[in-house]
Symmetry: C2
């Protein structure tokens, strides 16, 4: 049984995807977990898949930690109630927005400074395009960032307990205040989400012969447009203040682009397009890659594989046998094909060696 | 030596990424390829890496096919000149826009109906985020769509020769007229490109602690923002007519979104957000997946792997040994981690079986 930083018991309020995943992860680490959800079905499903034990109404509980995993629009109420119901417990929430939740809890008439000292807002940067307890995964938080937003009145031991939750679930702790958090997720999560939806919306009336030409560019830019609207409308509405300025910035660029393309022969038009593309290059280059390396830091080796069981495995076995670590892997295929391309990212210094090895082994390396 | 539909010789005018890749692919299939480029360096590099033989000025040539692989802004001039210089040859171009090229060639004073009969516009849907002959790959067109845009005056044998080029390079032939093509690529290629640049541009002034939280959502939506501006400004300016209406549609949605988020508590605001997200869901669902299957058609199995050589290979070997075909594979990792998650897509009917097999073999399947 792995050792944990939490001692337990832990009470999870809300057994949706995230709450149930928290319960599963902590239970599998040997901690005692209690579950509660307004939906009898949801809490029973969560218990049935091993996320913990549904609490018995009226039975007194003294949890070390209460994890509020309710939808954003009821999180404030549930946090405030939990702070009152469990006077010895640290209470954390895991909603994707932090400023509005903290403000709401602070302004609750029942909540004193003593209550607030035990509250810590947190945000695990993990999720799925599916929801509900049945989609929960004990490893959902593995190697994902978990933001801890201590406020000025948070007690040190409460913050430690919140961080222990993240660490016990295999996440990486990241510390910032609620404003820094909300501005950050607006930019790196909420903005790409709505932008992806805006792109995908344009496909509604597209003819089939156009969509048949779709490549990875369209697939990548629209993948998260498949996300669940019911959760996102709450996230977006709770963080509108941080999101709107970013959208206004995009609108300015879009206006400029439309104006330029309206007369691409006008003087300065091409320069204007080049600037827009150049800004895109520079912005994209700022995103940290795996292990914090910039995306450009890895070299690509592309290999043709047949679309049948074991082909990619055999290829990667040869890569592994060569003692070369694969930093990333990507499969490319277009509709209707029985042959695929596998892009293997390696550190540039090993690229030529890998090409030589694979070619010698009879792999068709695309060059 | 593989058999080919082309007999050759083929003359490639322009030895950038695409022209050199065409030369490499045809040469490796045993066809005789001649090369020419305004840049002595570029054509020498292309010849040195095996794309063909640089033509000798003044020496008469009678190619079966002339492939114009010049930048879009000079394609019309090069095509017209080639139709005059090689009166027996089929002439194709491979520029990403077709309507403006065809109109330009038709309006050239030297060009008669007899010339036009030998011209066929084409567009291989392939490329890289790098350019130049040194980045060329003989397999660049493998399993990619290649659009053949015959015009009303194209001669049948010329169209056959153009299609033979695509087939000999392993591409899939797709037939449509210039307008259908330009509208299609505006939507599925040019629009996602500029949208990705618009998203990435917002990251220019982002604080480091924000970018450190970046996940696959931001990475996927901005990946193609790394593309080469010098080529794209030509493509965008040549297809502005088809692109602008799409951008105006996006601007309308963006305006609506900003208006809604300006007061998310207003009546109807949440419904409006739900509609926007729902339209994104529906649009994304229309993109054909591998083998034409919708993205939703595959089930996901997520496995934790250590970040060291051979791990993913060993995993996929076990998948292959189970006789289960992997439809797609995706590696997830966040900065600073030595553990990664591998998402394996399989047909839903095999998912449970795969989970059972992998778990029995000791793999940590995330569920």
């Amino acid at each position: 049984m792995p050792t944990t930083h939490l001692a337990g018991p832990i009470l999870v309020l809300g057994t949706g995807l995230l709450g149930t995943s928290v319960g599963l992860g902590l239970s599998q680490r040997g901690l005692s977990v209690w579950l509660s959800d307004p939906s009898p079905t949801a809490q029973t499903v969560a218990q049935d898949i091993g996320a913990g034990t549904v609490i018995v109404p009226g039975k007194p509980l003294a949890p070390e930690l209460v994890v509020v995993a309710a939808p954003p629009d009821v999180t404030v109420a549930v946090v405030a109630q939990a702070l009152c119901d469990y006077p010895m417990s640290t209470v954390v929430d895991i909603a994707s927005v932090k400023g509005s939740i903290l403000a709401g809890v602070q302004s609750d008439p029942r909540i004193t400074a003593a209550h607030l000292a035990r509250y810590v807002g947190t945000h695990p940067m993990a999720g799925r395009e599916r929801s509900g307890p049945a989609s929960a995964r004990s490893g959902l938080f593995t190697s994902m960032p978990w933001v801890i937003c201590a406020h000025s009145g948070s007690r040190g031991d409460a913050v430690k307990t919140a961080e222990a939750l993240a660490i016990d679930l295999g996440a990486t702790v990241s510390r910032m205040n609620a404003v820094e958090h909300d501005d950050s997720v607006a930019l790196i999560s909420h903005f790409p989400q709505v932008a992806s939806s805006l792109i995908a919306s344009r496909l509604l009336s597209a003819p089939g012969h156009s969509l048949a030409l779709a490549g990875n560019g369209l697939r990548d830019t629209t993948r998260i447009a498949a996300s669940d609207p019911s959760l996102w409308i709450q996230i977006l509405s709770h963080n509108a203040g941080a999101l709107v300025p970013i959208l206004r910035g995009m609108r300015e660029d879009l206006e400029r682009l439309i104006g330029t393309l309206a007369d691409p022969t006008a003087s300065g038009a091409l320069l204007d397009l080049a600037e827009l593309m150049g800004e895109g290059n520079a912005g994209q280059a700022r995103i940290p890659g795996k292990h914090g390396a910039p995306p450009q830091a890895f070299a690509l080796v592309t290999v043709v594989v047949k679309d049948k069981p074991g082909q990619v495995a055999a290829l990667l076995a040869d890569v592994g046998n060569a003692g070369i670590n694969m930093e990333d892997l990507r499969m490319e295929h277009s509709a209707g094909h029985q042959v695929g391309l596998v892009d293997i990212s390696v550190i540039p210094g090993r690229r030529e060696e890998l090409i030589t090895v694979l070619s010698a082994l009879g792999w068709k390396v695309v060059q």
